[in-house]
Amino acid sequence: METKQEAIFTLTWTEDITLNNIGVFRQALKQLLSEGADQLIVNMEGVKYINSAGLGMIADCVMTARSKQKELVVAGVTGSLEEIFRIVKFSSFMKLFPTEKEAIDYFSGE
């Protein structure tokens, strides 16, 4: 599901990311990057697991967005998902937020 809030574009992803749906996730991220907005949110609230390929795709998209002067952040990072992101140390190169509101506030400068 995608929602647009002025210059911010959100991709909401609710399923765990495994081998079975990684292709669809890749397509969704690709679509997100092609949006006109410069501020992109992947809302993963409800996701409990993401496999290594999914993590690679997120990192790849963060870098691609950066090269296009855009910023991609991940929201809904709590519980088990937060632990995964902490282990892979994604916070060292990208922003992670517990809720979508906090991600929007970040982009809004609040």
Partner: protein, 508 residues
């Protein structure tokens, strides 16, 4: 032409009106009969009174052969169809057009041809049947085409090999029952793009590569992991052929998937190769090291697939040792090959870089150079590297997106090696936050891959803590005994979903 013809015939002898009909035939009055055979016969005995000259081509007999032989119909018909020939004479009294399909044997070249014969009565003025006539059309080429189509249909329906046809834009057009058996998809997949069968296991470049191969050679073959309807994936040897139209343009792509039986044979052969590859992979792992102030040993339990775990250690100088453990993203031969390529660099990288920050930056540079294509990351690995100084009793470490290692102190406290950076190969530049920890004599360092914390219930944090707590009661054991204990613990779980590897260093 036919109705009342008998009255005219009565006025002349056979030869006269036979000549008349021959002339009419030459004048092309029998429109549309150029290739067909037109004949007129007496109803009582089937004696041919006239037959068009086209009988030469179809039957391999001249008209005179027909006029002179009362058994000519039997002579030309296929033995299996003699009954049909006999049947056609009594039917003339029905006054309706009678259509018969049967086989004839061309008397000149011996070939069997399929014909359809339309027979109709020639009536007199009061409507009585006086003559019978017929038109015979050669159906051989149509029949052959029908047979081929039926054969193709039968093959398509009954063959055990799964098949799929797409149009030139890779939109699915046709599937066979074996495909449904293989994937679970029935007619609902018709009209869907081929991407519905993609698993996400491969990057987009792989499919471009396949398409490129088809364009170049008209065919591509290889083993591909396909997605089935229930979401699981299945590897099949797949051949893709381009089917061109009359102008040479691509009209269809035919996908042929190997049958399960073929796949089993192929799998047996691949399993042998994998067994060999696993052996090779095991042999590059460092052998136990025992030196003053440090003893290091490792263990590796491969999963069902070839994996991407690897560990190694090197003495750097008289007091420092570098210990490294890595886990490549994903499984399979690609992960294993990446692992081996890193292994070949590792000795030089560790001896040159020594400290975690430099070692990881250099490995990251190599990974980006080797496996980063068109601005996109293709592979990465997680790793933990520990530099042990046995004289200073100090470790300096960094964890590149890897589950935290443990430093068990003799007093029972445990430190987690949780500082570091993102996985290697993921980012253009790495910002490594290394950690330093002092240890007391008798401390134990344990590094492991995520195979150790998979498959259990609970969150990742709970799994890490459970593994740490499971180690604690045995931590004073000798490194080899501790590893044997771990091996037994994981072996009893059956085949592992992921590789498991662990390194234990006893620090004096």
């Amino acid at each position: 032409m036919v109705d009342g013809f008998w009255d005219d015939v009565q006025r002349y002898d056979h030869q006269a009106w036979r000549g008349l009909l021959r002339e009419l035939e030459r004048m092309n009055v029998f429109a549309g009969l150029q290739d067909d055979v037109y004949w007129v016969a007496e109803p009582e005995n089937g004696q041919i009174l006239f037959i068009s000259s086209s009988c030469e081509q179809l039957y391999g007999l001249s008209p005179d052969d027909f006029y002179g032989d009362p058994n000519v119909w039997m002579r030309v018909s296929h033995p299996d169809d003699h009954a049909k020939v006999v049947e056609k004479w009594p039917l003339f009294s029905l006054k309706n057009t009678n259509i018969k399909k049967y086989r004839i044997i061309n008397q000149r070249d011996g070939s069997v041809r399929w014909v359809i014969e339309k027979i109709f009565p020639v009536l007199d003025r009061i409507g009585e049947t006086r003559l019978i006539s017929g038109v015979v059309t050669d159906l051989t080429s149509i029949k052959r085409m029908e047979d081929e189509q039926r054969l193709a249909r039968d093959v398509y329906d009954t063959i055990e090999q799964a098949m799929l046809v797409t149009d030139e834009k890779f939109i699915i057009q046709l599937i066979n029952p074996a495909f449904t058996k293989f994937t679970g998809y029935g007619s609902e997949i018709i009209g869907q793009p081929l991407t519905i069968l993609y698993t996400g296991y491969y990057d987009a470049w792989f499919y471009d590569f396949v398409k490129g191969g088809i364009k170049k050679k008209g065919e591509w073959g290889g083993r591909i992991r396909w997605r089935t309807k229930n979401g699981s994936s299945c590897v099949r040897k797949t051949i893709v052929r381009e089917i061109s139209g009359s102008m040479g343009e691509t009209v269809f792509y035919l996908f042929l998937f190997s049958s399960l039986a073929d796949e089993m044979l192929s799998i047996a052969s691949i399993k042998d190769d994998l067994r060999l590859a696993r052996e090779v992979q095991k042999r590059v792992l460092s052998k136990p090291l025992s030196a003053k102030g440090i003893q290091i040993a490792g263990t590796y339990i491969p999963s069902r697939e070839l994996g991407g775990d690897m560990y190694a250690w090197y003495p750097i100088d008289k007091q420092r040792y570098g210990i490294f453990l890595m886990d490549v993203m994903g499984h399979g031969a690609a992960a294993s090959l990446i692992c081996m390529s890193v292994r070949s660099l590792l000795n030089g990288v560790i001896r040159k870089g020594i400290v975690p920050t430099e070692v990881f930056r250099e490995l990251n540079r190599h990974m980006r150079q080797l496996y980063h294509e068109n601005g996109r990351m293709t592979y990465y690995f997680t790793a933990v590297y520990v530099l042990v100084d046995v004289k200073e009793r100090m470790i300096e470490y960094a964890s590149a997106g890897h589950p935290p290692g443990f430093l068990f102190q003799p007093d029972g406290t445990v430190a987690e090696l949780d500082r570091g950076c993102a996985p290697i190969g993921l980012l253009p530049r790495l910002f490594v936050d290394s950690g330093r920890l002092r240890y007391e004599p008798g401390a134990t360092l344990v590094l492991y891959s995520d195979g150790a914390i998979e498959g259990e219930t609970g969150s990742v944090r709970q799994k890490i803590e459970a593994f740490r707590d499971a180690l604690a009661p045995h931590i004073l054991l000798d490194e080899q005994v501790l590893l044997d204990h771990l091996r037994r613990h994981f072996a009893q779980k059956g085949p592992l979903p992921d590789d498991f590897s662990a390194v234990v260093a006893k620090l004096g």
